[in-house]
């Protein structure tokens, strides 16, 4: 993908977009109250990955760095479920270790995006006027610079550390977060309960806290899933280009890139973590989409 890798699919996830939920996935289950099976699968997969990330250090067999020199580049099988890499290291163990790095970046990204973008979006939507215009200009500015290249530059100056990568990717999710939140605030500002609260003299801060933020939170939470996938993919792209987290704690992207050279003889080294990454992105995308459509159905008519 292009530098647009880092750019959130704003047209897809922004509040301005009429695109509906994916018709093919579990639409028929919407009517009943039970949680659809597709959601359970998505949640289940994410839980499994998280559990593996947390439990791996406790399990002796899953050391991502220990090389089984007797079996270099071994195909998936009994001893190593996903095979070994060129140095005889277990691919499953490395995939799980990669998940840890990818998730760490994603968590930082979402934190930065949510806090900064959420605040800016609230301010822009609530105050309007010059505040809105300045914030709008800043977001436009951020969106017209090549995000991936900017992060690469920063990494080349500052080194590929988790804080640098996570916070910078987070910075580039700020415009999208801000727009989502701003749209919700604008849609709420004219609604009866807010107008009523204003008329009876409720303080603006109280209205913000009690009436606006809870509504905004739903939209922002839905978007956080999208931002998670953006962060994972962006960090993967960075690693792939050699600008990501470095060994001994490589991310999914780094591991996938490592396996490139042996793609002909041992494709599993790349493809196994690649599959894990895709499934995770899919699950998070799906949950975000479900949350968004649920929010739009129940929430204000936008």
């Amino acid at each position: 993908m292009s530098t647009a890798d880092l750019d959130l699919p704003a047209t897809e996830s922004g509040a301005t977009n009429p695109s509906g939920p994916p018709v093919g996935l579990g639409r028929r289950n919407r009517r009943n109250r039970r949680i659809p099976i597709s959601v359970l699968i998505a949640v289940g997969w994410l839980a499994l990955v998280l559990l593996a990330v947390l439990a791996a250090p406790l399990l002796p067999g899953l050391d991502p760095l220990r090389g089984d020199f007797a079996h270099p580049a071994a195909p998936p099988g009994a001893g190593h479920w996903l095979g070994t890499d060129a140095d005889g290291r277990d691919v499953l163990a490395r995939t799980i270790a990669g998940a840890r790095a990818s998730f760490a970046v994603a968590a930082l990204t979402v934190l930065v995006g949510l806090v900064l973008g959420g605040t800016l979006g609230l301010a822009a939507g609530w105050f309007g006027g010059w505040t809105d215009r300045i914030i709008g200009f800043a977001t436009e500015l951020l969106m017209s610079v090549p995000a991936l290249i900017m992060v690469m530059i920063a990494v080349s100056l500052r080194g590929p550390s988790l804080p640098v990568i996570g916070s910078l990717i987070g910075l580039f999710t700020v415009p999208s977060f801000s727009r989502v939140v701003r749209a919700v605030v604008l849609s709420l500002a004219d609604r009866g309960f807010v107008v009523a609260a204003r008329m009876i003299g409720t303080s603006p801060w109280r209205i913000l806290r009690r009436e606006i933020v809870p509504h905004v939170a739903a939209a922002a939470a839905a978007f956080a899933f999208t931002a998670t996938t953006v962060a994972i993919v962006a960090e993967g792209s960075l690693s792939f280009l050699g600008f990501g987290l470095r060994p001994p704690a490589p991310s999914w992207g780094g591991i996938i890139a490592e396996g490139r050279t042996t793609l002909g003889s041992a494709p599993w080294i790349s493809l196994a973590p690649a599959a894990a990454l895709c499934l995770t992105v899919l699950a998070a995308n799906y949950l975000g989409e479900r949350l968004r459509s649920a929010d739009q159905k129940g929430g204000p008519a936008r």
Partner: protein, 318 residues
């Protein structure tokens, strides 16, 4: 009273964005004078070497004068010289922009050839079998990042089937056939990824269009479905897609860093990756500004194209 000129707000903001990006780009070496030199020359560099390096990249001056200096040069087509190759940045860019544009155009062809017919067919019967497959497929496809897709394509086409080269690039002028062969995998990687986004965008818009009375009216006059979709529904539904393509065009000038690196395509993105890794600041500055110019320019182009697509927009601005 605020003075309101038609389009002044947009144009003003575009110019503002560009200026800010130029400033930021010019500020790059100033952010950390010396650190760039240290990074480039290594820890063994002497203070003299560092000072000399900083002078070459213009660090040490204040940011504003640095930016003005850079702008002055850029106005004459002088973007400085590459620190690593000694080639003028303008020359380098001149050679690489056509490559990137060729890749972009090929990728758009791939994406549109897939997305447009699928969107038309699935929007005609939303919820139908084809629509459910296409929508679910596009959603699954969105989860495959470009670098994974590229890798899989290399594995299938170059490693398993051995029908296409994995990497490399021959200019069209040298050997058109080989150039097109080299083009296939990178164009597929870029195009297939975008196809999913295009499909979702266009489908959503088409569904809205097809519910309009004027579509029912055209059907009542006996217009065949295929003609109706292509001649009457596509155009009023195309605005968001045009925006996406425009943004893509703008971004592509900054280079498709990932795909160009993965397939060793000598375009702007490849240049950017190499320049950043080598702390070749003049090149990096030029690429960043070029990219912003691309985005802003594409926005203007999209605006102009909107008016052609939808006469009502031209009407409003008159």
């Amino acid at each position: 009273m605020r003075l309101r000129l038609p389009g002044a707000g947009r144009a003003g903001r575009a110019v503002g964005v560009l200026l800010a990006v130029v400033l930021a780009a010019a500020a790059l070496p100033h952010v950390m004078p010396g650190s760039a030199a240290l990074a480039a020359l290594g820890p063994t560099a002497t203070p003299d070497q560092i000072a000399a390096y900083d002078r070459r990249i213009g660090a040490g001056q204040n940011v504003l004068s640095g930016a003005l200096h850079w702008l002055g040069g850029a106005a004459h087509g002088d973007f400085g010289t590459s620190l690593s190759t000694g080639v003028p940045v303008a020359t380098e860019l001149g050679e690489r922009i056509p490559v990137t544009l060729e890749l972009f155009l090929a990728a758009q062809l791939v994406a549109l050839a897939i997305a447009v017919p699928l969107a038309l067919a699935s929007a005609w019967r939303p919820g139908g079998l084809l629509d459910r497959i296409a929508t679910a497929g596009a959603f699954l496809w969105l989860a495959v990042p470009g670098f994974v897709l590229g890798l899989v394509l290399i594995w299938v086409a170059a490693v398993q089937l051995r029908i296409l080269p994995a990497t490399g690039w021959v200019r069209f002028g040298q050997d058109p056939a080989q150039n097109l062969k080299d083009l296939v995998l990178p164009a597929l990687t870029l195009g297939l990824t975008e196809a999913a986004v295009y499909l979702r965008t266009l489908r959503a818009q088409l569904i809205g269009t097809l519910d309009q009375t004027y579509i029912a009216a055209a059907r009542a006059r006996g217009m065949a479905t295929r003609r109706l979709l292509v001649r009457r529904a596509l155009r009023p539904s195309a605005l968001p897609l045009v925006t996406l393509i425009g943004i893509g065009l703008g971004m592509s000038l900054g280079g498709s860093v990932l795909v160009e690196t993965l397939f060793a395509v000598p375009g702007v993105g490849n240049l950017a990756a190499v320049a950043i890794a080598g702390r070749d600041f003049p090149v990096v500055q030029a690429v960043v500004v070029l990219s912003a110019v691309g985005v802003v320019g594409a926005t203007v182009l999209v605006d102009l194209f909107y008016r052609r697509l939808d006469p009502r927009i031209a009407h409003e601005h008159r």
